[in-house]
């Protein structure tokens, strides 16, 4: 029995460590099974280096046709599950074919890797980065080990950032003017603004601001669009009268937001919208949606 078990066990244990693994920031990532794991965080143009340890089990030797490590950037569409599209693929050969008898360590380095896209976990699409170590064997099947890591790219504040200002209404019923101080927000930003009531003939019960994410995947006729409401923030309670102005102040930090992604590798886009919703006493909803751009601002080292 033991023998048999031993036969199906992988012959060795592979582990991957990053050079600055102890100091590098870890961010939580939700896996398929719902588990949340911490993964190291990188950004584009960083050098990804580390060590790979291959540890054969007691008394075993590993015969192989070579050892390599790959850095893969993958997009996975959920309707096409299991099919990964690699938009980045780098390979480092670590060993020529041979045998491993005891623990062996291979340093590796991908220097200044171009990783243009951020890690993204959406409803219908996932973009991830992974290190893949392969111990190639012939008949026995290769031994593969993965190490996910996260990529986030920071951008400087946009030079032009106009406010959003708009007057909307239903004739002789409701006229409002709203103003958000910017059109582009970073992820920890605060939305400030005001809602002016120019004409109110309906009995408003309350007013909310929703933050919505619109994720579109695929292209052409196969485009899938998925919209989620990430936040519902009450702005006003009760019925305003003409001339009232209601302040808007929404902190974005509590919400799980990502930067806006436009046409990532022709596969998907992620856009954000502010949706202003007024609800009247008969629970009718009046809303106006405005796109905003989210970007990731380099956090101050604190």
């Amino acid at each position: 029995m033991n023998f048999l078990l031993g036969a199906f066990k992988p012959a060795c244990n592979i582990s991957i460590t990053f050079t600055d693994g102890k100091n590098r920031k870890q961010v939580p990532i939700k896996k398929d099974n719902g588990q949340i794991v911490m993964n190291p965080l990188f950004q584009s143009q960083e050098t990804i280096a580390g060590k790979i340890h291959i540890d054969p089990y007691q008394g075993k030797k590993v015969e192989h046709n070579g050892v390599k490590v790959e850095l893969l950037g993958q997009i996975e569409m959920y309707f096409d599950r299991g099919n990964f599209y690699d938009f980045t693929s780098l390979v480092r050969e670590l060993d020529v074919p041979g045998e491993i008898y005891e623990r062996k360590t291979y340093p590796f380095e991908f220097s200044s890797v171009e990783m243009p896209y951020e890690t993204y976990n959406g409803v219908n699409v996932r973009l991830k980065y992974v290190l893949k170590v392969t111990v190639t064997r012939g008949y026995a099947g290769s031994i593969v080990e993965y190490q996910d890591f996260v990529v986030r790219n920071y951008v400087p504040p946009p030079p032009i950032n106009n406010s959003i200002k708009m007057e909307v209404g239903i004739e002789d019923c409701l006229h409002i003017e709203f103003e958000y101080n910017k059109s582009k927000y970073h992820l920890k930003d605060v939305i400030l603004g005001k809602i002016y009531f120019l004409l109110v003939r309906i009995k408003i019960k309350n007013m909310d601001l929703e933050i919505r994410r619109r994720e579109s995947t695929g292209a052409g006729a196969n485009t899938h669009v998925e919209t989620e409401t990430l936040a519902k923030f009450e702005l006003m309670d009760g019925a305003p009268v003409r001339g009232e102005s209601i302040p808007v102040r929404v902190f974005l930090s509590p919400y799980d937001l990502t930067p806006t992604h436009t046409n990532i590798n022709n596969k998907f886009s992620v856009k954000y919208y502010l949706n202003l919703v007024l609800v009247d006493e008969e629970d009718r909803r009046y809303f106006k949606q405005q796109e905003i751009t989210l970007y990731r601002l380099k956090e101050e080292a604190s």
């Binding site: 009450e234 702005l235 006003m236 309670d237 019925a239 305003p240 102005s245 102040r249 902190f251």
Partner: protein, 789 residues
């Protein structure tokens, strides 16, 4: 039903609050900030309910309020543990629902201010601005009330340790003002919530919430550093702007009252024109009179309490401002009922009397304004207005306690013109009573004229009114006042006094048949008093054309009394004629005396038909005539003759008898030698005795029926004889007396006369006189009677 539901919802909400508060407390105990925030937000969510009535909502609010106290302390401790307060300030704003978010924000905000990490101003501004997000009136009101409550003790003021500069303090002011404005808006808006069917109930509920709004004004007044300048330039205009703009009756009324009650008197005085300027801009339905009266009352008290304040009143011309403002209000509020406007003037008048008691012109001005107002509305008809105007007219009277002062007010009578008859009379009584009570000295004819003009409600009937239902007693009482009033008019100068009398007469004669009998006597006696005074002084010191000669006055009286005879009060007229005759006699005016007698006789003959009245009248005539000295022999004869004639024609014999023996006196005047006609005296007595005999016969004829009168008559006669005997009438002889005495004795033997005591005392008197020394006993010697043995 609804109240029950209310109760149920409140209980549910209370339970939820209690539970969440428990969890919150547990989180606090274990320093779990996240949970503390979570449960406090949940607890606060209970305040989002729309189901509760304001009253119940208040209960719920108070419960939550108490819990928030713990949270505030926790926040404070949390900052001590290194959690940045700015972070906390942001953190609470992550709450998804607006109401809990803002309550938490206010709570942390108050901690923030205390921590001095940040300028108070910024936080206050932020809080008051953010609170705009709650537009639901009830919830907004309570939220802002909470804001006011937690920031109250943290507002910067001059010298406060938080921030010293004036800017911060102005900003604090701004904060309170803004919060006030917003709260008031919400409060006003409440009335439009829900169906119009329940409007009344809603207004009642709204009224219960008014103190939430008013508290802001209280805070303002307590705010240190708010001096007159700031009050005048910032605080008041801002408040008033809101008051005017909200266009809501309830709010305007309450807030105006609040302003008046909350801020110091001195401020009001200095900003009077601003405050008053607002009044006409208020809604027509606002009860301005309550507002203004409150203000005037306060200022009156202020003036009363501190003497130093008085110059300020003058300086700011408080009176003219009030007067002007009230005029404006009345003008602006077309629908103001007469009672309302009169009440306004009443308060102004009271204020004026309090503050400017020495400025009669002001008082008159108020009256004048009132007249102008009344002239637009016409006569006052409703009870309320009448009551107010009586109070209005009464005020100066009570203040000065002197009608003479009132008479100087030219507009006073003009106001009275607008009263209905009943009220006019009431007012007249009040005026007259004031004179009587204070014993006011009214000494010129002009004043008297004015006074009677004022009191004309008492003096005469009004055209076209028939007072059927006047209580006789009341009426007499009223006229008694008039009579007493007449006696109160007095001037040492006879000339003026006579003018007064002329004036009084002029007014009194308009009184009509019911009043004259009650008022004329007073006038007559007052005039007679003057005549007596004139007689005592120099003979006609004024020359012939002066009005104050006795003759002229008597002439006047004659005419006056004549008015009485026209109104079927002949008894009274007769008496007065006789009084006048007496006065004329005293003034040695023969013709006038004769004239009066003539009138009296005529009255007797033509008007007095009742036999009892005749007896009385005749006695009076005889009595008066007896004392006449100025009459010539002829005239006297005529009058005496007439009187005796009347006596003989009386209906009842005993009356005849008595009248006739009274007439005997007409021929005998003690102090006047040429008026001692002993013979005619005796003749009279004999005639009287004859009548007594006739009576006696009649009595005997119908014995047993009644009268014992004749014996009494004889005794009376006996007394007369004795009288004249004593006076020295030589024609009275002892025989006559003796025979009369005999007659009496025989009569008393026959029958129980009932006059024994009279007889006995007469006899005792005779006995007594006889034993006296001197002349008397001599005279009595003649009438020794065996009766006495």
């Amino acid at each position: 039903m609804i109240a029950e539901d209310d109760e149920k919802w409140l209980a549910a909400a209370n339970a939820a609050v209690k539970q969440n508060a428990f969890y919150m407390q547990r989180a606090i105990d274990s320093n779990n900030l996240k949970d503390a925030l979570k449960f406090s937000a949940q607890m606060l969510s209970e305040l989002r309910t729309s189901k509760l009535s304001p009253h119940k909502y208040y209960e719920l609010y108070m419960r939550v309020f108490n819990e928030l106290g713990t949270l505030e302390i926790f926040f404070k401790e949390e900052t001590g543990r290194g959690c940045s307060i700015a972070e906390l300030y942001e953190l609470v704003q992550h709450a998804g629902n607006i109401l809990p978010r803002l309550y938490l924000l206010c709570t942390i905000g108050s901690v923030y201010i205390k921590s001095k990490d940040v300028t108070t101003t910024d936080i206050l501004k932020d809080l008051v601005e953010m609170c705009r997000a709650v537009q639901h009136p009830l919830r907004g009101l309570f939220l802002r009330s909470y804001l006011a409550q937690v920031t109250r003790d943290k507002l910067p003021s001059i010298g406060s340790e938080l921030e010293g500069d004036g800017d911060a303090q102005m900003n604090a002011l701004e904060f309170v003002l803004q919060n006030f404005t917003e709260m008031n808006k919400l409060w006003v808006r409440m009335q439009h919530q829900g169906s119009s069917r329940e409007k009344e109930k809603r207004e009642k509920e709204r009224n219960e919430l008014r103190d939430l709004v008013g508290k802001n004004l209280h805070v303002l007044s307590q705010l240190e550093g708010v001096d007159l300048g700031i009050y005048r330039d910032t605080v008041l205009p801002r408040i008033l702007e809101q008051v005017v703009n909200c266009k809501d009756e309830l709010a305007q009324c309450y807030l105006m009252d609040c302003i008046i009650q909350v801020f110091p008197d001195d401020f009001h005085l200095q900003t009077l024109d601003v405050l008053l300027g607002v009044c006409p801009q208020l809604q027509p339905s606002v009860d301005i009179k309550t507002v203004l009266s409150g203000l005037m009352e306060r200022l009156s008290n202020y003036a009363a309490s501190s003497v130093e304040a008085l110059p300020n009143f003058l300086q700011v011309e408080a009176f003219s401002k009030f007067n002007y403002a009230i005029g404006k209000v009345v003008e602006a509020q077309v629908d103001l009922p007469a009672a309302g406007s009169v009440t306004l003037y009443l308060f102004l008048l009271k204020f004026t009397l309090h503050v400017y008691s020495d400025r009669l012109d002001y008082v008159d001005q108020v009256l004048g304004s009132c007249v102008t107002q009344l002239s637009a509305t016409g006569k006052l008809c409703d009870d309320k207005a009448a009551k107010q105007i009586v109070a209005f007219l009464r005020a100066p009277l009570e203040k000065y306690n002197n009608v003479v002062t009132i008479l100087k007010l030219t507009n006073y009578p003009r106001v009275m013109e607008y009263l209905d008859h009943e009220t006019n009379k009431t007012m007249a009584i009040i005026i007259v009573q004031s004179v009587l009570k204070n014993n006011t000295h009214i000494s010129t004819a002009d004043e008297v004229d004015a006074l009677f003009e004022l009191a004309k409600g008492l003096i005469k009937d009004f055209d076209g009114t028939i007072d059927n239902e006047i209580d006789e007693e009341d009426f007499q009482e009223e006229q008694n006042f008039v009579a007493r009033l007449v006696h109160n008019l007095y001037n040492d100068d006879p000339e003026e006094m006579s003018k007064i009398i002329f004036t009084v007469r002029k007014h009194i004669l308009t009184g009509g048949p019911k009043r004259l009998p009650l008022t004329i006597p007073a006038l007559v006696f007052s005039a007679l008093k003057l005549i007596r005074r004139l007689r005592g002084g120099d003979e006609n010191p004024f020359g012939d054309d002066a009005s104050a000669t006795p003759k002229r006055i008597l002439q006047l009286l004659s005419e006056t009394v004549e008015a009485l005879s026209d109104v079927s009060a002949p008894d009274l007229a007769l008496r007065l004629y006789l009084q006048c005759a007496q006065a004329a006699n005293d003034c040695e005016l023969e013709t006038v005396t004769y004239e009066f007698f003539t009138k009296a006789y005529l009255l007797y003959e033509e008007e007095i038909s009742d036999s009892k009245a005749q007896v009385t009248a005749l006695r009076l005539i005889i009595g008066t005539l007896q004392r006449m000295r100025v009459l010539s022999v002829e005239n006297r004869d005529i009058l005496t003759h007439k009187a005796t004639g009347y006596s003989a024609r009386l209906l009842r014999k005993p009356d005849q008898c008595r009248a006739v023996y009274e007439c005997a006196h007409l021929f005998w005047a003690d102090e006047c030698e040429n008026l001692k006609d002993g013979e005619r005296v005796v003749l009279c007595l004999i005639r009287a005795q004859r009548i007594a005999d006739a009576v006696q016969n009649m009595t005997n004829a119908s014995r047993g029926t009644s009268s014992t009168g004749s014996v009494a008559l004889y005794v009376e006669l006996l007394n007369k004889y004795l009288y004249f005997l004593e006076k020295g009438n030589t024609k009275v002889t002892g025989d006559t007396i003796k025979s009369l005495a005999e007659l009496i004795r025989s009569e008393t033997k026959k029958v129980e006369s009932g006059a024994e005591s009279f007889i006995n005392s007469t006899l005792r008197y005779i006995e007594f006189q006889r034993q006296q020394d001197g002349g008397m006993s001599e005279k009595y010697e003649k009438i020794k009677m065996e009766w006495f043995e």
